[in-house]
Amino acid sequence: MIEARNVHKAFGSVKAVDGVSFVARDGEITGLLGPNGAGKTTTLRMLYTLMAPDRGQVLVDAIDAAIDPLGVRRRLGVLPDARGLYKRLTARENIDYFGRLQGLPDDLLKSRGDALIAALEMGDIADRRTEGFSQGQRVKTAIARALVHDPRNVILDEPTNGLDVMATRAMRRFVQRLKAEGRCVLFSSHIMQEVGTLCDRIVVIAHGRVVADESPDALRALTGEANLEDAFVKIIGSDEGLAA
């Protein structure tokens, strides 16, 4: 379970995140939805302890990120916005490196790596150097290395960004599978349809604030719009109206 309690983060005079609170539960897919620059990535960065919030609290499985950041990171699998791979290492070596940093013993490392390579259908590229990988192959490798330690909580920052149709569908199937395994999945996106079909719960962020936190159906009902996209625009729009 991932919990944000009234977190704030400012860069200079810009309030990137301005009091965000939400809960992402186990066995559920929580979508963080918002336009570009709404503060999604900054919020996620605070969740995986890359940044410390100016104010507020981050809890992962009830562990406070400010007190035990290493404990939090151990319980998280993270696909950050930056997906840089080590291009002179093979896909498997990339995965192994992160597994070792997570403290996995060698035998577990091997079996976890094999399982992920099978689940992500990347057997054909596993032993190739990652230099020259396609965007889809890169994302698969980045996800495999993020999940090698079998974390209960998974944070994915725009996992389908830059993927083609086939790769996107495969990615969605994989996210469903993570949910079925009982994990807490939190992912950000600015693609409405994706959030609508995948998520059990949608947290809409605009201007660094949570403007809605509902199930897709509740969101539609709340706004009186049958179409989620219209509902989304309405929420964001009304927020802008409020702010003005």
Binding site: L70, A82, G103
Partner: protein
Amino acid sequence: MNATGPTTPRRHAFLTVFFKEVRENLRDRRTMMSALLTGPLLGPLLFVMLLSVSLNRELDKSDRPLPVPVIGAAQAPNLIDALKAGGVVPGPAVADPERTVRRQDADVVLRIAPDYGNAWRRGEPVQVELFFDSSRRDTSAAVERVTRLVECYSRQQGALRLVARGLSPAIAWPLQVARRDQATPQSRAVLMFAMLPYFLVITLFMGGMYLAIDLTAGERERQSLEPLFANPVPRWQILCGKLAAICAFSLASLLIALLTFGVVGRLVPAERIGMELDLGPHFAANVLLLMLPLVPLLATLQSMVAAFAKSYREAQTYISLLMLVPIIPSLLLSFMPIKAQAWMYAVPLLGQNLGIMQLLRGDGVTGQQLGLCVAGSTATVILAVLATVQLYRSEKLAISS
């Protein structure tokens, strides 16, 4: 699911980072070339080649028969014999000595006055002319040689004339200068080797340079630093693993360079001009000891500088500037002959420079000097590492865009 964290004893994260960085960079041709080939080999080879060429030229000049066109040789057969004894090969007369020298057909031309024979027999002073061009520096040794031979002959004959008149030759020379050169064969070599410490530092620098850039600015540019920091490992451990990898490469560079200096040092014909050059195992071991603290120091400084840069290119620019720093003590010592004070040994780079020069002079370094040198540099390393760890804590460091 692994909710409780690792249960089995695991390999230290520091080692994981270290081995990964070493493995990855062993696969990079540019890093390998720089660390194991161009850096450590090119330096010594170039150095020794230049040295050999200049030494050989010096040797040639002092030993080689020196052809000198002589005008009016028939007037002074005894002078010509004396010159011949000194290695001068008298050549046929030339019509225009000024032009001959200007056109560089000869380094020096000797003209004996036509009335030399008569004047000599009368015991009168007689003129002997030397034509040369002092702006051609490479001829100065030849001019010097002929001048000295002529003057020596003149003094000899003068002494004989005094003796013939029953006077002591000492009357003509009330003062006698006795030159007592305190240079040893080794210390004479030092002048030529003033840049050797710099070569060694640069080797060390080059060995770790690409790695240092790759491991900080490069990783940031590739956007792999953010996922790396999402792992449950304190950043200082990651930094230390990276520093250790840089050190491993630069240390390998230094070892190869020392080995190369040891081997090619034998090829330099230093002893033929009265110099002694010992670049053997004893020298190498002492240099290694002196320079050991510089290995982590340069690695840390490089990483620190590279951490400020946003891109690989930017880091390269900064690091090239940093490369100028180690040249300062070398320049200082070669242009301003400073008498070494004890505290100077504690200054990183300067201390190593002084120590290596002392080793080259054959004086050896005392335990105190060695201790100061190692202690001073080690203290600086600790400060630099602490500063870099602080820098690594910055939130901005991991973020690429």
